[in-house]
Symmetry: none
Subunit: 401 residues, 2 copies
Amino acid sequence: MIDFPYLSDIVRKTDSKILMLVADGLGGAPAPDSRRSELESARIPNLNRLAQASSAGLTIPVAPGVAPGSGPGHLALFGYDPLRYLIGRGALEAIGIEMELRPGDVAARGNFATIDADGNLVDRRAGRIASELAAPLAERLAQVNLNGLNVAVEHVKDYRFVLRLRGEGLSDQLTETDPQLTGAPPLMVEPRAKGAAAAAAAANAFVEHAREALRDQEAANMVLLRGWSVAPDLPSFGASYALMPAAIAAYPMYRGLASIVGMRVLKTGGDFAAEVRTLREHWDEHDFFFLHYKNTDAAGEDGDFDKKRKALESLDEFVPALLDLKPDVLMVAGDHSTPSIMAAHSWHPVPFLLHSQWTLGEGVDRFNERDLRRGSLGIFEAKHIMSLALAHAGKLAKFGP
Amino acid sequence: MIDFPYLSDIVRKTDSKILMLVADGLGGAPAPDSRRSELESARIPNLNRLAQASSAGLTIPVAPGVAPGSGPGHLALFGYDPLRYLIGRGALEAIGIEMELRPGDVAARGNFATIDADGNLVDRRAGRIASELAAPLAERLAQVNLNGLNVAVEHVKDYRFVLRLRGEGLSDQLTETDPQLTGAPPLMVEPRAKGAAAAAAAANAFVEHAREALRDQEAANMVLLRGWSVAPDLPSFGASYALMPAAIAAYPMYRGLASIVGMRVLKTGGDFAAEVRTLREHWDEHDFFFLHYKNTDAAGEDGDFDKKRKALESLDEFVPALLDLKPDVLMVAGDHSTPSIMAAHSWHPVPFLLHSQWTLGEGVDRFNERDLRRGSLGIFEAKHIMSLALAHAGKLAKFGP
């Protein structure tokens, strides 16, 4: 039962519906000149009005000071303690390109890299080689033949690919080959636990085959492998919360994260308008929807304050359409903050609101980092969001007599 | 040492006195028209003045989103982790009518119910049969003879009674007989663990005897049993905190909760004025008092906003009398919220203040949900209240060298 064993005694199935809108990288920080954050600078009348009739606060995705990746950021929103349920980098990379990971498979994130005649690294990213050059090289690597193992390699983007090994007796208890500096040779894969020696040997054999296969290349003449990991094994979201959950996300990474907790992933289009159409079409079929909005994070990662402001304004325009569906609980959450001034994921608590028939407003007039601090939910761990949602949806009985 | 093993090294006995006033169901929520909560609508000058000279905040009784029953709500106030120390429904019901539960006894909550000629349930509460009709039927059930077991049945109220079995080899690992729906027969009691088979057989035998004994009844011709439980085994409150604790409560449920943690239960009258007289009379005998005020919860459960507002105003009038006793620490707390708009216990954080010589106010001018959010204690778990009380009473030495 995920992290709240007490819920299993009190959760009950009802007809009420919960809609969780996740604006990726939602939180921001004040710009030096205006001293206002992206949310404070944006024209977001619908979100502000919603905040006036909601319970509100700020969520801590993992722990104070910790900037989460997309994996832990979303797991927390789904109620999984992100410090307990870990997803390896290789597995997340595979999830992000919808590459199947079965129990027993081992995945690593791969980089194309450049080595000199002595075998020392010159560039750990092969000059950030373009996708159209890298993709055929990934296909070459997929031809590598390892005795008794199935080898799959799929290109991700630019210099990045995923390696997946499938077969008997594999392990993810392996060291990485990236020395994290140039001028030195790539490292050998070493077993980190008993029983991982065979997997280490297979990994080293793959690297040698790859070096051979890339010998004719100038830039991408070597590979680096890291983040060895197996498929995550997570309790079912639907079974834990007595919900029939569905996920709507234009980006594969978020579809993958939803699928590993057992949500039904709905086919949708490439932008948020298409996502909202999908939501409307399937509204009667599910009692929980995870709806993902990517543009806020993308703009924040670009360090483009104005683009993030506009992404928030675009999102705001969809709020009435979401309310038209009359969800019993509508949440606006983020998996982490991505302040434009940092151009990166950050540790800052993330704006959050929950709207239901029981939330009549609490004096928070605007949806931004500063105002939400005064909300009744305070600053709290994101993993508690689902309990709050279930409570407001009337899906939790009283605890204890 | 309850849940804070570190306290045992630093707690020390002193002459200072702690008074914990628990207003049951204290927290509320804004009404749709006024957008003010019961506390915000009430005229409570004494509580407001007290808040101006206190440390203040909001407490989470069990966990975010979780609405507690009276049992876990009070255990948390007493410093017992309510997720760790569980009280079964049968045991709490027995506690609530001051029915003795010894180690080894098993108690269940009973309902009178109505079955048809085929044995299917028609009404799970026997038409909410009145107490004057139900009480003699409970006496009938108390005559049931089970081989080698002592059977006690006590009427609670309306259609409810408590069954207590006493004897060798009993267990509370039993399933309930209430199918939670009508049109089906009551369920058989099944053992939920090894060693519970004999107890299950005894329970089923009781049900058969009860059915016979009630055969002449139209409405209450059957019983349903649930919440099988043994007496809770809790560490001593007094020993854990080096206190001589006393409890004053007009309602038996709260006297029972105090007695199971080892507080001395003082004989008192039927209303809060009598409770305050009892407090004054025994002031010199104890260094900790749990003083319970019921009317706030009762009004909230009735969904009567105005009655709850008045219950708060009545409570407010007693504050000067409490201050006259010059407690070193005076706390005003609640075991959970009971918003009138929900007419039920809720998960909302509960108003809390602590007044002592070390609390000189912190800009919180009024005692209500909205203002207390800005208090120095923030939103915190209720189980920490006792540590704060001990600290403010000078009863905790420094931790560590």
